[in-house]
Structure formats: structure tokens, C-alpha cells
């Protein structure tokens, strides 16, 4: 891995949720949305974050950017810990850390023109820029993301979903960030347009030397864009590894289950697959299982899994896995991809 620009160390985010409706006493429970997550991100690298809804992917992203306050842990950005910084100090960092959101329409103000939307971060971070400079920079940005600079005075409703996502990307990139967190950037788009946006992101990353955190539930897209992949379940890291290691030799039973669940657009391959879908459902994050949080759905679970929380251990190939039985589970190709059971 290239020299890390971001180090996340044992980051936790807790939410308080009210549970008492029956009494006047205020009762609440703690919900650990993100639980001691650690990883590093290199310059120019893409880290894919996958997991089911409610696993804490988005909260992790927001905690890194300081949009929710972590309850513990550190976020080291270029040597400086962002956790505990004042709002003003954070503001100055936010230029370097930008975000692209899931909902292409909802994340744009319908009453602002494209020029105003993409120009706003510039006016925020560079108040001394003249209107002409802002306009020129915005026009250049629009061109870069594949829109026409003539569209600068149009409003979001005049654009399609894919074009709105291009606008959102232009807004994130206009201040020259070094890290862009993309939270499900293509999941609201049609497949043909999805491919356009994925290509655009990869292209811009190369041109601008960006680091990306790419959060998605679509494992096929994540395989396409990521250098490394982090698998989360109920707020915890199950496995982090290079793309090939994750997809060709997944070590954690949850990673395997996820990969085996994805349908493959090829009827012959689909029939040949031994489909073994994961039973059960995601437990409540406010009342996670003891020991390994995945054990209630894990086909490999034994008694020890309920008693001991598996530590995230680094293996020889650099992969990190949190599973007590990882040595017994042969890190071979998952059934999903060819091998019949």
C-alpha cells in the first residue's frame, strides 16, 4: 500500500435511542453503530466498504468527515487527529475531504442553478475569489465531469439522475480535495447510467490523484472500483483485504455469504452455482449478539463464538480477519464462483 494519508483507529460511534414509552422516566439504550473500526487508506487508493443496510457503512463515512461525533477512537488525516477538533478547525480540513451522496436529486438544492451549486464550496473556502474566477473554475469543472459549461444557469430539475450525480461530483471536486467519500453514488441510477458514473469516478481519480472511500451494497461495482475492500457487519470490521483476496479467497464466513448471495447475469453460471443463502436476518444493533456478532447467522459458529469476541488479526498475506475459526475455514474460492459443493 502507498503511504497512508488516512488512518482510522478504533473508531466508534454511539447513538442514544429512546426505548421507554410507558413511563415518564427517560430511558434510553446505547446503539453502537460503528464499533472500533480501524483501517488505513493510501494516497490514490480506493477502499470499498460493503455490508448490509444498518451495518454502519454510512455512519462510518460521516464520522470520518466529522459529520457525526465519534464516541471513541481517532481519525488521523495527514498526521493530525480530526476527532476532538473544534468546528472551525474541522472546517479548514473539510476542503480536503469531500463527499458524494446517494440521492442525486435530493442532494442538490432545487432553487440554485448548477453554477451556484458547484460554486458554493469555492465561495466558502476561497472567499477572496472573484465571481469571474468562480465562474471560470465552475465551467471547467462541469466540462471535467462531462457536462456542458453552457448548462451553468440551469436548475437541477432540468437534468437526469445521472447528470445530477455528475453535478454532485463536480461540487465535491471543485475545491481540489484529496479524499472523496462516495456513499452509494450509483445505487439510485439505472444500470446504463451507473456504468457512466463509475467510469467517470475512476477516470477522475486517476487524473486528480484522489483517494476514494467507496461505500456500496453492490459487490460487483465494488469489485470493479476498489483496490481494497472492508467488510462490515453490525458496526464491526469482519475482514479487510486486497480486492483479489476478498473476491477470490474470502476468509470470513460473512464475506463468503455476501459473495455467494450476489446473482450473476449469466443463466448457465447461475444454475451451476450451489446457492446457499444466508439464513436469518440482521440482529438488532442495539442488542448485538455476544462474542462474534455474526455468529447467529454463521454456518461455522461453535460455542466458543458466543463466549469470545474474535480479534481482528492480520494474516501473512496482509489480510485482516475477525474469525475464531479462520484457520479451519479454508481460504479457497467461495462456492458462488464455480466450485460446486
Amino acid at each position: 500500500m502507498r503511504a497512508p494519508i488516512l488512518k482510522v483507529e478504533a473508531l466508534s460511534v454511539q447513538f442514544r435511542i429512546d426505548v421507554a414509552e410507558r413511563s415518564f422516566r427517560h430511558e434510553y439504550r446505547r446503539l453502537r453503530a460503528v464499533d472500533r473500526v480501524s483501517f488505513e487508506l493510501g494516497a490514490g487508493e480506493t477502499l470499498g466498504v460493503v455490508g448490509e443496510s444498518g451495518c454502519g457503512k454510512s455512519t462510518l463515512a460521516r464520522a470520518i468527515l466529522g459529520l457525526v461525533r465519534p464516541s471513541a477512537g481517532r481519525v488521523i488525516w495527514l498526521g493530525e487527529n480530526l476527532v476532538g477538533m473544534s468546528e472551525e478547525q474541522l472546517r479548514s480540513k473539510r476542503r480536503e475531504l469531500q463527499m458524494v451522496f446517494q440521492d442525486p436529486f435530493g442532494s442538490l438544492d432545487p432553487r440554485m442553478t448548477v453554477g451556484q451549486i458547484v460554486g458554493e464550496p469555492l465561495r466558502n473556502f476561497y472567499p477572496s475569489m472573484s465571481s469571474l474566477q468562480v465562474r471560470e473554475r465552475v465551467a471547467g469543472m462541469l466540462k471535467l465531469v462531462g457536462l456542458s459549461p453552457e448548462q451553468i444557469n440551469r436548475y437541477p430539475h432540468e437534468f437526469s439522475g445521472g447528470q445530477c450525480q455528475r453535478i454532485g461530483i463536480a461540487r465535491a471536486l471543485v475545491v481540489n480535495p484529496r479524499l472523496v467519500v462516495c456513499d452509494e453514488p450509483v445505487s439510485a441510477l439505472d444500470v446504463s447510467v451507473q456504468a457512466q458514473i463509475v467510469n467517470l469516478l475512476k477516470d477522475l481519480q486517476k487524473k486528480l490523484q484522489l483517494s476514494l472511500i467507496f461505500i456500496a451494497h453492490d459487490l460487483s461495482v465494488v469489485r470493479h472500483v476498489s483496490d481494497r475492500v472492508l467488510v462490515m457487519y453490525l458496526g464491526r470490521v469482519m475482514e479487510v483485504a486486497d480486492r483479489e483476496a476478498i473476491y477470490d479467497r474470502p476468509a470470513h464466513p460473512y464475506t463468503r455469504a455476501l459473495i455467494e448471495s450476489v446473482p450473476i447475469p449469466d443463466p448457465v453460471a447461475e444454475r451451476a452455482r450451489a446457492r446457499r443463502s444466508l439464513g436469518g436476518e440482521l440482529p438488532s444493533a442495539s442488542d448485538p449478539p455476544s462474542g462474534c456478532v455474526f455468529r447467529t447467522r454463521c454456518p461455522w459458529a461453535i460455542e466458543a463464538c458466543a463466549a469470545t469476541e474474535p480479534p481482528l488479526e492480520t494474516l501473512d498475506d496482509g489480510r485482516q480477519v475477525a474469525c475464531l475459526r479462520r484457520a479451519e475455514i479454508k481460504a479457497g474460492a467461495p462456492r458462488a464462483l464455480g466450485e460446486k459443493s
Partner: protein, 326 residues
């Protein structure tokens, strides 16, 4: 005789911006026990096709053509006649399982109602039958679930309940509109295996509407590819994936990254955006985005048979092939 015979179905909507032509002359057959997938992007007319068949178009919508179910014309049926068919002979499940259930009634109440209404069962018999059905779709502790309300259950659980509800009267046809799109992959896989098992065990035909080619590959016997309200291609599932005849089908297949393939470089996206349904350009609706378009495409191509159960709407004589077809 085909279970469902759709001929020349058109659906249009009057809107302040003009008339939206959602479905334009759609024809297809569905045999008993068969699973037909309708794929296409948003706005291609997949959902409105199903809504028109079920008499569920919104007030500004109009359907013309013919939809025959076991020989009976469905278009133009009165509300009363239609509601005897809906839920009894044809049922439908929707994309958003939680809001498809009534939040004020317990799950049990909603299931029992289907049977007392359509099958004139006594409440007690209905309750037993509903409990059995919940077990069949893989819900544990069905008695407890029957007492619960939709907000207390997860999306995957609600979709199972919708499927159970859809199958209570052993319908001849189940229409599933993006049944797993809102669900996580692990739950999607559970629901898809459930639907696969059900179609094998019963003679229920399934009309599966989806944008996910992977789901189609796993579940369908035959596939209809829609674009701008028209059939672009129709084929048995293996042939469609192995040998796509329409450039749009090829474009769809190329634009999705495959989990089982190592990729590098760029995806072959389809350029541009789907056309405006208020102001459809003349000629082939896909022409502006098509890599194979030529002079002839200014005319509107007819749907022609190119093999057994294979149809395409394209002037191109040869197969569209890109040098690196996945």
C-alpha cells in the same frame, strides 16, 4: 392456450406537459408455470404494463389493446369484476414491502381477510391456512408474526409475508414488480430462492419485473427487454444472455460489472440518457444511444421473429458484437 395473452397494449398518461406514452404496442404470451422476466431501465414501461393488466393505472392513465387472461379480456372490466380476479387468480407483489402492508391491521388480519373474502373460508380455517402459508415461505413462529404489525418487521420479513399473501389463493399468475430491489443481497437471495422453489412446486406463472439482469438469469425461463415502452428483444433466457440480438440488450449486459470476473479499465456504458416519453423521436427509440445505428434507423423497426420464440426490433442484419464482449 397461453395463460396470459397481451396484444398491442398501449398505456398513456395525460399530464400537464403533454401525453406520456409509457407503453407502445406491447405483445407477449405467458404459459402456465412459466417465469417471464421483463427488464428495462426506469421509464421503460415495465411497471405500467403490470399496472394496466391489473386495472391499477392512475386516473390520468389510459390502456388500449388486449390483455386476455385464460381467454377473458381484462381491460375494461368493472371494479367489481376485477377485484374478483385480483388476489384470487392474479396476485401482485410490489417493490416496497413495508408500505404495501396496511399499518393499521395485524399481519394475521390481512392474511385472513384474503381467504374470507375470496374463498369464503371461516375465520378459523383461514387462520390455519394462513399460518401454514407463512411456514411455507420460511417464516418461523408464524403465530407470533400474525399478531404483529408491519412496522415491527424487517423488509425481508414483510416481503415474505407479501409473497405468502399473494399465494394464499393459489393464483395462476403472480406479478412481482422489483420484489427484491429494496432488500439486502443476502435477503434478496433468500427471497429469490423462495420464488424459484414456489414456481417449481406449483403451477403458478410468474411475471417478474426487474432491472437486475442477475435476478433474471437465476429465475426466468424467458425474457422480454423493454425500452421506451416497446419490446426490443424477446428470447429464452439462455439465448438472450449468450447471444443478444439487439444492441440495447448487449449494452445492458456490457454495462454491469460481473462479480465473477476480474475487471480493469472502463465499463462499456450506454451513452446518453433514455428518451423523453412525451416527445418520442421518430424511428427506433434507441437510435441516439446505439453504437450500431445506420440510415435505416430513421424508420421505426418492426418486431420480427428471428427464431423459435425469439424476436427483435432492429434493422441490423448481423448480431451486434463488441470486440470485448465480457
Amino acid at each position: 392456450m397461453a395463460l396470459l395473452e397481451v396484444r398491442d397494449l398501449t398505456v398513456s398518461f395525460d399530464t400537464p406537459d403533454g401525453v406520456v406514452h409509457a407503453v407502445n404496442g406491447l405483445s407477449f404470451d405467458l404459459d402456465p408455470g412459466q417465469t417471464l422476466g421483463i427488464v428495462g431501465e426506469s421509464g421503460s414501461g415495465k411497471t405500467q404494463t403490470a399496472m394496466a393488466m391489473m386495472g391499477l393505472l392512475s386516473e390520468n392513465g389510459r390502456a388500449t389493446g388486449s390483455v386476455k387472461f385464460r381467454g377473458q379480456q381484462l381491460l375494461g372490466l368493472s371494479l367489481g369484476e376485477m377485484s374478483r380476479i385480483r388476489g384470487s387468480k392474479i396476485s401482485m407483489i410490489f417493490q416496497d414491502p413495508i408500505s404495501s402492508l396496511n399499518p393499521y391491521l395485524s399481519i394475521g388480519e390481512q392474511l385472513i381477510e384474503v381467504l374470507t373474502h375470496h374463498r369464503n373460508l371461516k375465520r378459523r380455517e383461514a387462520r390455519t391456512r394462513a399460518t401454514e402459508m407463512l411456514l411455507q415461505v420460511g417464516i418461523s413462529e408464524p403465530e407470533q408474526r400474525m399478531r404483529q404489525f408491519s412496522h415491527q418487521l424487517s423488509g425481508g420479513m414483510c416481503q415474505r409475508i407479501m409473497i405468502a399473501m399473494g399465494l394464499l389463493c393459489q393464483p395462476d399468475l403472480l406479478i412481482a414488480d422489483e420484489p427484491t430491489t429494496a432488500l439486502d443481497v443476502t435477503v434478496q437471495s433468500q427471497i429469490n430462492s423462495l420464488m424459484g422453489e414456489l414456481s417449481e412446486q406449483s403451477s403458478t406463472a410468474i411475471l417478474l419485473i426487474t432491472h437486475d439482469l442477475g435476478v433474471v438469469a437465476g429465475l426466468c425461463d424467458k425474457v422480454l427487454v423493454m425500452y421506451a415502452g416497446e419490446v426490443m428483444e424477446m428470447a429464452p433466457v439462455d439465448e438472450l444472455f449468450a447471444d443478444p440480438a439487439h444492441p440495447y440488450t448487449l449494452g445492458l449486459l456490457n454495462s454491469v460489472p460481473r462479480l465473477d470476473r476480474e475487471h480493469s479499465g472502463i465499463l462499456r456504458a450506454i451513452r446518453g440518457n433514455p428518451p423523453d416519453l412525451v416527445d418520442l423521436p421518430p424511428g427506433c427509440p434507441f437510435r441516439d444511444r446505439c453504437d450500431f445505428a445506420f440510415e435505416a434507423c430513421i424508420e421505426h423497426p418492426p418486431l420480427e421473429a428471428i427464431g423459435e420464440e425469439r424476436y427483435k426490433r432492429c434493422f441490423l442484419e448481423r448480431r451486434p458484437v463488441t470486440e470485448d464482449h465480457n
